[in-house]
């Protein structure tokens, strides 16, 4: 086994043993304010059937471990977004799934995925997603209506 392949597998295992190793951290602003730079994150293995809209999942994407919120679930893929980047959508294949975020630690305070605070953020995020889908649909309808009104009228002659 080559060292790079072994490291990759070990990192996948590290992620799935994050409750014990406590060595997984979040980076960036994309999931702010729920996940912030430096938050310690615990990921657990999860069955595909148990994933629900609003969950935050981690998956394998080349050498990175994207961690995003599930906004829609299909048979073999998930549609994801980042709470702080509502305009962007990402898709993830079922085979790339590694686990689900179940705990976050910030400044010594632990937040579990069944805590009311966590569930409230989840509800707000899904409501925001619904509003963004509706806004997009409205914009598309408006554009369609505009193009119909601008279409030249045919005049019958003879």
């Amino acid at each position: 086994m080559n060292p790079a392949g072994a490291k990759r597998i070990a990192q996948d295992l590290q992620l799935l043993c994050s409750a014990r190793l406590r060595s997984v951290r979040f980076h960036g602003l994309s999931m702010s304010p729920f996940l912030k730079e430096g938050d310690r994150v615990t990921v657990e293995p999860v069955c595909w059937e148990d994933i629900k809209r609003g969950d935050i999942v981690t998956y394998r994407c080349e050498a990175k471990y994207p961690t995003r919120r599930v906004v829609s679930k299909r048979r073999d893929r998930l549609l994801l977004w980042c709470d702080n980047w509502p305009a962007l959508r990402f898709t993830m294949a079922r085979t790339d799934l590694l686990g689900r975020v179940v705990m976050v630690e910030r400044d010594g305070k632990l937040l579990h995925h069944r805590d009311p605070e966590w569930l409230a953020v989840r509800r707000r995020a899904l409501a925001m997603y619904r509003r963004s889908v509706l806004a997009l649909a409205r914009r598309r309808l408006k554009r369609l209506a505009g193009s119909l009104l601008r279409a030249p009228r045919r005049v019958r002659t003879g």
Binding site: M1, P3, A6, K7, S23, T58, K64
Partner: protein
């Protein structure tokens, strides 16, 4: 286990190791059931069709490697393991002595949505 090889993480030290196919099969055996070094050697000899003295030396060396890496602890064996999975596999030409390779230590893993 990947392609008959295995990667192991020591959860206390965060070191990670690789096992070749014969090492991985001994590791699986030890995970399933506690064995004495003699039983490991007998099982290795039967599974890979190697001479008992060779199996004894190689099993002993491998178990010492595991113990040095603190991946194995000495204990008592309550009962002898079942001999159901000693079906020979592969040929002697393909056999390589069980080996543990230390690759390094895991650093903090960074997750990001960006």
């Amino acid at each position: 286990m990947i392609d008959e090889e295995a990667v192991i993480i020591h959860l206390d030290s965060s070191s990670y190791f690789g096992l070749n196919p014969s090492g991985a099969s001994i590791w699986s055996r030890l995970v399933e059931t506690a064995c004495t070094p003699v039983e490991v050697a007998e099982w290795l000899s039967a599974r890979y069709r190697i001479r008992p003295d060779q199996a004894h030396n190689e099993a002993k060396a491998f178990l010492e490697q595991l113990a040095q890496a603190e991946l194995l602890q000495e204990g008592t064996v309550a009962q002898s393991p079942a001999a159901s999975d000693t079906e020979p596999v592969g040929s002697l030409d393909e056999y390589q002595a069980p080996e543990l390779v230390r690759f390094g230590d895991l650093n903090t893993l960074i997750l990001s949505a960006e």
